[in-house]
Amino acid sequence: MSAANSEQFAPALTPHVNAAPHDSVVLRMAIPNLPSEDREAQLFWRLRYRIAQNLLRQHLAQNRLRTGLVTGLSLIFWTGLFVLFYEGFAFIVENIGPAGATYHAQTVRFVFHLFFASLNVMLVFSSAIILYSGLYKAPDTPLFLSMPIRPERIVLYKFQEALFYSSWGFFLLASPIMVAYGIVVHAPPYYYAMLLPLIVSFVYIPSSLGAIACLFVILKLPRLRKFVLVLSLLAIGATVGPLVWKTFSTPQTRLFGTEWFHDTVARFHVTEMEWLPSSWLTGGLLEAARQNPIPFGSLPADSPVVQSILYLVLLVANALFVHVLMVYFAKRWFRTSHVNLACHGTKPPVPRGLLADRIVAAGLFLFPKPLQQLLLKDWKLLRRDPVQWSQFLIFFGLLALYFMNVDRFNNPHSDIGYITWINMVSFLNLAVVGLILSTFTTRFIFPMLSLEGHCFWVLGLLPIDRDTILWSKFLFASIGSWMPCSLLVLLSDGMLNVPWMVIAVHQLTCLLLCLGLASIAVGLGAIMPVFRETSPSKIAAGFGGTLNLVLSALYIMVVVVLTALPCHFYLLASNEAWGDTILNPTYLRVWLVLGTLMAIVVGGVATAVPLRRGLRAFRQLEFV
């Protein structure tokens, strides 16, 4: 660096005098020309671009399989959703009426209002939670705070990340629905051009509100912590409670009947309120999809294209307004809220001898002492990590809620259509439980051994062999997953009122799934550990985690199909009307037994092989 350059940039060594408004004359150093607001924004976009570019380059060079797999699976998922919604909208057109008909408009409007209003609420919460972790817990925030960067720019940078992460799922869900609807109703070309601006401006509003809420809660945290918690619980109780109560207390009416339809529409009338951004989005989309030739010359104000543009303008204006609000609050609240969180006091000591721990300890009496201690350690780690059990609770809680409502499919009619339907739903429920379990085993069980690498100076020096450590992980995962899964499947079967034989087959399948999925996750975790990562989500997102997810999904499909198909045909054959003519129950009983036996064999192999290979790999593993 030349001396001239150095002198040009370095702050003047001689202090100059500035008159401070309140106190006496203060000596202040000259400061360099700091970037303007626009320049700061450009620099953050450049930072993001560089990181994304390097990440993409690395993925394409080192993780081609994973990148291809993720892209391929996303495409399959998108296509599947598109086909599903295309068929759904085509059903509405065929059975309710073409686009423009009153019932068609009411039905589609109801579906869109409900869908977007739900996402409206979810976006507020998800952006607030993601912004909280990105802004207050991320390791780069202290770096930014120690630099001469405007606080609102730091918040905006993190908000853009939160916006992306909270809304990509929305795009993945909404885009196939919108495209399918456009094709089914033969929407004009400008409908497709309006999709992106409408959705982006919509997403910005609830996400910004979530960001403001996040800043406010953290700003007032020391005083509001208990208040916010109690208020949130009351709000959730007040919202969910009446809905659940109404669902259970509503008399059983015929599914999809007129009364059911009117009742359902009335129940969700709240989603159609005019002040909701989701209502503006629905209005904009439905207006844009209307077939109405654009006349030459002037456009009437009530023409669909003008109405749609007006809805877009409404969304954009509100998005800009909440953006301004967010910047205003970020400028005033961010630094103070960051300090409040960093200094809000020491955490209370961890309680010892909890009843839950004593119950778990008592339940492990059958196992050898070292194994008991390892299992108890993993239980305590799980209990003290709300990220793990809260996700488990949310997903399985939602499933339980759905299963409690599933008896609506249980129609008094005993024709073959209903029997087929109920049996199919029961097996689909079983598969869903398995698939959700597989995401948990990938996210939480697969990284367990990699994470133990950091603590192996403790485990490695204990007077136990390594096999015990791996067995403890397997037992922890399989027992821990089998109990809730088994109960959920039992709940589903009970609500559907399926025969005892099917319940028994489901319970056996559930056990096989839990054992196999636990073994695949533990075994692959030992074969492909990632010791340099400390974040379980990053370990799960690696190649080993992706492979674990794919193998788990394949295993679930094979086992469920092996037990479901013979069971399905057996039930059909047992029906008097069909039994003698199409299917012979005698042979089908053999198929049923054979299918179950094959499922047991597949389950045995899926449990034994990964575990055996994992044990072998773990014995030879070097913790570097």
Partner: protein, 251 residues
């Protein structure tokens, strides 16, 4: 250059820094010593703008850190105890990002980057992603980012941890050289020998209070009974150390 005036900071009920008044001038190397939890890192976090004082004021180069945070932090280079580098950026990309955030123009930035690459011998790995760096390489990289914009104040939190003897020597020489060139250096450390060797003044904190502020010679004058090392005087000054020293004397 650095001016703490009756600064107080508490974490809930616990007081982390109490009534801290401290002035460090340009060209001075000040070492802050103290046990774990004495309040050193809290004082440093307040100085670089990560947290704010509950009471009192901190000025850097005449700028109040709360009212004029941007101006004050623009004068500071900071080497934290647990530095963060973006895994998916190369060392050069990080240097460029930080330099631009401090308002450096294109030609200045490239000249300064070359200067720091040369000074910290980063040439062999500066274009690799930082996720591949060893601890020592990361530490050198962090020093380069802290000094890139030629700050008037350098704040260094525990710079010697995990470094080999050669790197420790380099850090000590660097800090001494920068102070000699007029930079104001504040270093927090547990390495008493290094503090004794390079510091112009030392400050000893215990339970959030600054027990001593002065040169090592002044400290020796306070403990004239024997030729004490900084370690012995430090232990004697802090209560915990005093009791340990008493036990040692009995033995």
């Amino acid at each position: 250059m650095i001016d703490f005036q009756q600064v107080h900071r508490n974490y809930g009920e616990k007081t982390a820094v109490e009534d801290l008044t401290l002035h460090i001038g340009a060209g001075e190397l000040f070492s802050l010593l103290g046990h774990n939890g004495a309040g050193k890192t809290t004082a440093i976090k307040m100085l670089v703008g990560l947290i704010r004082p509950s009471r009192g004021t901190i000025r850097v180069g005449g700028y109040d850190l709360v009212a004029k945070t941007r101006e004050a932090t623009s004068l500071i280079g900071f080497v934290p105890d647990q530095p963060y580098l973006y895994d998916k950026l190369s060392g050069r990309e990080i240097l460029h990002f930080i330099g631009r955030m401090y308002g450096m123009e294109h030609h200045q930035l490239h000249a300064a980057t070359d200067r720091e690459i040369h000074r910290f011998d980063l040439g062999d790995f500066v274009d690799d992603l930082t996720e591949t760096y060893s601890h020592g390489m990361k530490q050198r990289m962090v020093f380069a980012t802290a000094l890139l914009h030629e700050p008037r104040v350098l704040v260094v939190d525990e710079p010697m941890i995990g470094l080999d003897p050669y790197s420790i020597r380099q850090v000590k020489d660097l800090l001494r050289a920068e102070a000699s060139r007029g930079m104001c250096v504040l270093m927090s450390t547990h390495t008493l020998q290094a503090a004794e060797e390079i510091s112009d003044r030392v400050g000893i904190m215990n339970h959030g209070r600054l027990l001593f502020d002065g040169t090592v010679e002044t400290l020796r004058e306070k403990f004239p009974s024997e030729k004490r090392t900084l370690e012995a005087m430090y232990l004697a000054l802090t209560q915990k150390g005093a009791s340990l020293a008493a036990e040692g004397g009995k033995a």
